[in-house]
Symmetry: C2
């Protein structure tokens, strides 16, 4: 049984300008792998309505689940919720349940529920809210799309609340062997090994340490018996880790 | 005059599985910004031929320049060069100039120029080689696409050799003001400011420090006079940095 697939859409000029180094993609990738979901594509687009709509529609057609990150704050450049509504051709407005969350948070923190903060209660029709335990402004789920904040602490909390409800597959197992030989010396044997285990992903990652070249070989797959068998052959090939 | 645009295609299962945190995108984003080129989209795809071909063709049609990262090593999972050739419908084979670079490097380092290393001399017809001062295996430029290694030190060296030949635009300037007020308090004023400077990008990035909420406001644009004017109004609004 193939593992379900996911895609991620990162929205934000600050990532593309180099101002901010994205952290959410790497975090989500690790969480999905643990959960048996294969992250199959990531796109990063700027804060431009049409670009968000086009990318989201391409990704949600091609994958079981889509996660978005960024653009759901109170400012003029936070346009993700409206773009998601447009992608689904659904109306969007301030929704009472989201407004209540914001009003409660403002009351507790002594802030004013002004027009800008009310923007964060704009939710497309039919969406389910995603809890934000850190700063209240909710994310939302619409169809197979989970719309989440870009601030890493909030993003991570939202992933934690969304993932348990998503159907995963068998956990994706991985074993790594460090081989102290340059990639070019081990490549042919690795290619033969990969051909003997077509259902596994056998990756090869060169590194350099203290002037010497080495290769990390990563064997990934859903069947622990097959991963073990491939690792056994790999160790026999390179005479290590019995 | 609008700045030229670029896209990036990151190729690699190891990024999507969460094993490796990509560093090349953030590096390239910063370099392009300094060079006056706007990074307009990034896609990350796995080591799957058709996925690379489709993504590359979409990106090279939509942007002035495309940079790829990853998948040009000697192992079975290094399929980028073949995928790029397929995207351009061009033949690919071991090329003498690339073979000579590899042979020279092997002679100097006491390695064998075996079949696996010769894979790295496979270059699509008509491509120009990109120098690899670190491990010899070249990248290449084909049309508006620059194909580069995934190993960060090699990627960075290749960017340094490619960028000077690419036509940039006016440098993209940026000024940042730190405002010690939560985003929801400053959002309306920022929206009004953005409306007065439609040619600038005014971004708002919330942060939390020692329990207090603040907002970094970043003003970006190509015209230093307009960036200064917007920053002046921003400082007047929030009473700082005269």
């Amino acid at each position: 049984m193939a593992n379900p697939t996911a895609a991620m859409l990162v929205i934000g000029d600050e990532i593309l300008s180099g101002r901010t180094r994205d952290a959410n993609m790497h975090f989500l990738a690790g969480e999905l792998t643990k959960h048996g979901i294969r992250l199959a594509e990531v796109r990063i687009v700027p804060d431009i309505h049409d670009r968000i709509v086009t990318a989201l529609n391409a990704l949600r057609d091609g994958h079981d689940t889509v996660f978005t990150s960024g653009g759901i704050g109170p400012t003029h450049d936070d346009i993700t919720a409206d773009a998601v509504a447009a992608a689904f051709a659904l109306p969007i407005d301030v929704r009472e349940d989201a407004r209540a969350l914001m009003a409660d948070h403002c009351a507790r923190t002594g802030r004013t529920l002004n027009e800008a903060r009310l923007r964060m209660a704009r939710i497309p029709e039919g969406a389910t809210l995603i809890d934000n335990p850190i700063s209240a402004a909710p994310g939302f789920t619409l169809g197979n799309v989970h719309v989440m904040a870009g601030v890493p602490s909030v993003f991570q909390a939202m992933v934690a609340s969304v993932l348990p409800a998503i159907t995963g597959g068998a956990p994706l197992l991985s074993q790594t062997l460090r081989v102290d030989r340059p990639e070019g010396d081990v490549a042919t044997a690795l290619g033969d090994l990969a051909a003997r285990f077509p259902e596994l992903s056998i990756g090869s990652y060169p590194f350099q340490q203290n002037g010497a070249f080495g290769t990390n070989v990563v064997i990934r797959g859903g069947d622990s018996g097959r991963v073990d068998a491939a690792m056994g052959q790999l160790c026999a090939l390179f005479g290590v880790r019995t």
